[in-house]
């Protein structure tokens, strides 16, 4: 197995290189097939890897490719760590990636730049696999930066559109702020632990925590800053809605299912460090809960189908952070997995709609698509039910686990549960608002557009993801409902350290309470759906009335609480202004001034010197003669003087 494992990230890299160099020559079809094949190979290897982890005695495998940095007693190698956590991640990443690659064959079918698209997509999968397979912080950082790069490239894929270019830049810059925190955290880890290897760091963490109590808190907060950038949490969430400028399969893959979950994965991976600094866990939980509610409220009023899903993604990522923050690491990863299924499905369904309507994304110009696009409708409905938390779909299981743990965990609090439950209601409402606006009611589609069902290459991934959205949660079916919570059990070895440190004990609440809370979360979900039905099917004029009555509030939310504008005034403009001042005052005056000044000095010297070069023969002869006379005289004087 070890020999096969290293090929796992290799295939997408090969696909990237082949498509990058030969894609244009091959043409669109071959490029797409190569990309799909490479990801499928990775998926196949992932299945083997998963089996290998289950049968491994120690529960984990490490494969070292080569030594990377060896200086003094510091040692970093490019090596992979395959444990239950990364096994789950590689399965999700390669599985969802493969489906989305297939979907892209249809969705990008008319785009002449398909080879470039597929090569970037393959590169993304490569970096994502590096990120989740890394066995030390440096390799993880490579993957971390690499996926950011691919995200930037793919958001700006249609680079002839100015808004796409701007969105790509915004995503990149905002992510850099997070990456800055992550790199500082790695520096601190290197400084205090003298290693960047995960297992060694976690082993030494308790002694370091005992010696320097503040250090781990600092590391945790800096790691969290990195995670908020990549996973679009408050305060760095602003890039994700804009990232919807990219092609829809990219939004599904990178900005919903995989890359944005990197922050969640990273915190789960470092659970030992976070557990030793409980303050950071509290911050994680607060950020997660706040983001979940905040983003869900913004999703309520968006009219762009992809923007609704983008805010929904931020909100769901907030749930995952909340789970991590209350010490329910396995629940966070579980929700990561189920969310990857149903959110990828939602995005792909939205892409199918956009494709059918010739790039129309405005919900107000949809409606009544149920008849013309049955496959898209039914799969989308399944995903919407899943995210709304309707049992027994995947979203119900994982979301309920998070809500229960945020209430029952010693690190939890009933306010966390309350915020999560309100968010669940909002989620159900905005998701069914979307379903009803897009698929039900009267058609508001422009007359020259004729919606049609998408081709098989797009429909089949939808069906596959719909199946996963239904059954994906069953592997973590809670014990109270007669399940085995197999998923949590599988991940237990990874989070053992953290659980011991936090001394979490689960069994102090009655099963009755769990049933009660579960019932509440189901009921609020159903209420959200019912309310959406009331508003958008029964009496479609009601939203307009409410809009008018609460115009101020509506505009506040519609304009995303003016956060972009706030950041622009408070952060962007001062920095740009400072940059301008430094540019004029230092770059132009001092640096350019010094270079130009030296050049000018030389020029004036030369202007003086050039006067001696008159070009007149007789002047030259005379100076030559005088020079000879002087030289001769000097020789005479010295020789004579020495002789005397």
């Amino acid at each position: 197995m070890n020999t096969l494992l290293w090929t796992l990230p290799l295939w997408p890299l090969v696909g990237f290189l082949l498509n990058g160099f030969f894609g244009r020559r091959w043409g669109k079809r071959t490029a797409g097939l190569v990309a799909c094949a490479s990801v499928f190979l990775s998926f196949a290897v992932s299945l083997f890897a998963f089996a290998a982890v289950r049968s491994a005695d120690t529960g984990r495998l490490t494969v070292t490719l080569f030594d990377w940095i060896v200086t003094g007693n510091f040692h970093a190698s490019v090596s992979f760590l395959l444990d239950p956590l990364s096994a789950v991640m590689i399965l999700v990443v390669t599985g969802v990636s493969f489906l989305i690659h297939v979907y892209s064959l249809g969705y990008m079918g008319h785009d002449p730049d398909q080879p470039r698209y597929f090569s970037f997509l393959n590169l993304f999968v490569f970096f994502m696999l590096m990120l989740v397979l890394a066995d030390n912080f440096l390799v993880m950082y490579i993957g971390w930066e690499g996926v950011g790069l691919c995200s930037y490239l793919l958001i700006g894929f249609w680079f002839r559109r100015l808004s796409a270019v701007r969105a790509g830049m915004k995503a990149f810059v905002v992510n850099r702020i997070g990456d800055f925190g992550f790199s500082l955290a790695i520096f601190l880890i290197f400084w205090h632990f003298n290693t960047v290897n995960f297992l060694e760091v976690f082993e030494r963490a308790p002694s370091v925590a005992a010696a320097y109590s503040g250090t781990l808190t600092a590391i945790g907060l800096l790691l969290l800053l990195g995670a908020t950038g990549k996973s679009a949490q408050i305060p760095l969430y602003v890039w994700l809605p804009d990232a919807m400028e990219g092609p829809t399969p990219v939004s599904a893959l990178i900005h919903a299912a995989t890359m944005v979950t990197a922050g969640v994965y990273m915190i789960a991976r470092c659970s030992t460090l976070f557990a030793l600094a409980p303050v950071t866990l509290l911050v994680v939980a607060i950020i997660g809960a706040a983001t979940a509610l905040f983003a869900a409220s913004m999703a309520l009023v968006q009219n762009d189908i992809k923007k609704v899903l983008a805010y929904s993604t931020i909100s769901q990522l907030g749930y995952m952070f909340l789970a991590l923050g209350v010490g329910a690491f396995a629940a966070g990863i579980f929700h990561l997995m189920t969310h990857a299924f149903f959110k990828a499905l939602l995005f792909l369904g939205a892409g199918s709609v956009i494709h059918a309507l010739s790039n129309e994304q405005d919900l107000r110009k949809m409606g009544g698509l149920k008849k013309s696009m049955p496959v898209t409708y039914w799969t989308f409905l399944i995903a919407a039910l899943a995210i709304a938390g309707v049992p027994p779909l995947a979203g119900f299981v994982s979301k309920d686990e998070i809500l229960w743990r945020s209430f029952s965990s010693p690190l939890g609090h009933w306010t966390f549960w309350l915020v999560g439950t309100i968010t669940a209601a909002l989620t159900a409402f905005y998701m069914f608002r979307l379903v009803f606006l897009a698929f039900h009611g009267e058609s508001r589609v422009a007359h020259d557009v004729h919606p049609h069902e998408s081709p098989a290459s797009m429909a089949q991934p939808l069906i596959a993801l719909a199946v996963l959205s239904v059954i994906g949660g069953w592997i973590g079916w809670p014990r109270t409902l007669g399940g085995g919570a197999w998923f949590e059990h599988f991940l237990r070895p990874v989070f053992e350290h953290a659980d011991q440190t936090l001394a979490l004990s689960a069994g102090e609440h009655s099963a009755g309470l769990e049933y009660g809370l579960m019932a509440v979360s189901i009921i609020v979900g159903l209420l959200g759906i019912l309310l959406a039905y009331q508003w958008y099917i029964k009496s479609p004029e009601r939203p307009e009335r409410w809009k008018a009555r609460f115009a101020g509030l509506y505009n506040l939310v519609l304009n995303k609480y003016w956060v972009d504008e706030l950041y622009d005034t408070v952060i962007v403009r001062p920095i740009v202004g400072l940059g301008r001042v430094v540019y004029r005052g230092f770059d132009l005056a001092v640096i350019d001034g010094a270079a130009n000044g030296i050049a000018g000095l030389m020029q004036s010297l030369a202007a003086g010197g050039v006067k001696t070069s008159t070009g007149r023969f007789r002047f030259g002869a005379a100076t030559f003669a005088v020079g000879c006379a002087v030289a001769l005289g000097w020789v005479l004087v010295t020789v004579m003087g020495a002789a005397r």
Binding site: V610, T612, S613, T614, G615, R616, F617, R618, A622, A625
Partner: protein, 102 residues
Amino acid sequence: MLPVPLSYYLVLAGILFTLGVFGVIIARNVIVTLMSVELMLNAANLLLVVFARVHGDLGGQVMVFFVLTVAAAEAAVGLSILVAIFRRKGSIDVDRLNILKG
């Protein structure tokens, strides 16, 4: 040993050489410049001959033949350059040959 004292020869050679130098500097006609160069060469030749006599070493006189040969070649090359310049410029006034001005 010498019919005339050595210092006379030295002074004469010095005068000839200086005349040559000033000729090169002052002359505007390139032909005069060339002639002045010959004058300087001959001042040197004179000294070579004189010292050959003083030291009783024929090497100096042999050297003079070489100098004369080189001077003849130099005059030939110099005059042909002169002709080329005249064809191009229509003048052999050195003051008008100033295309190397910086």
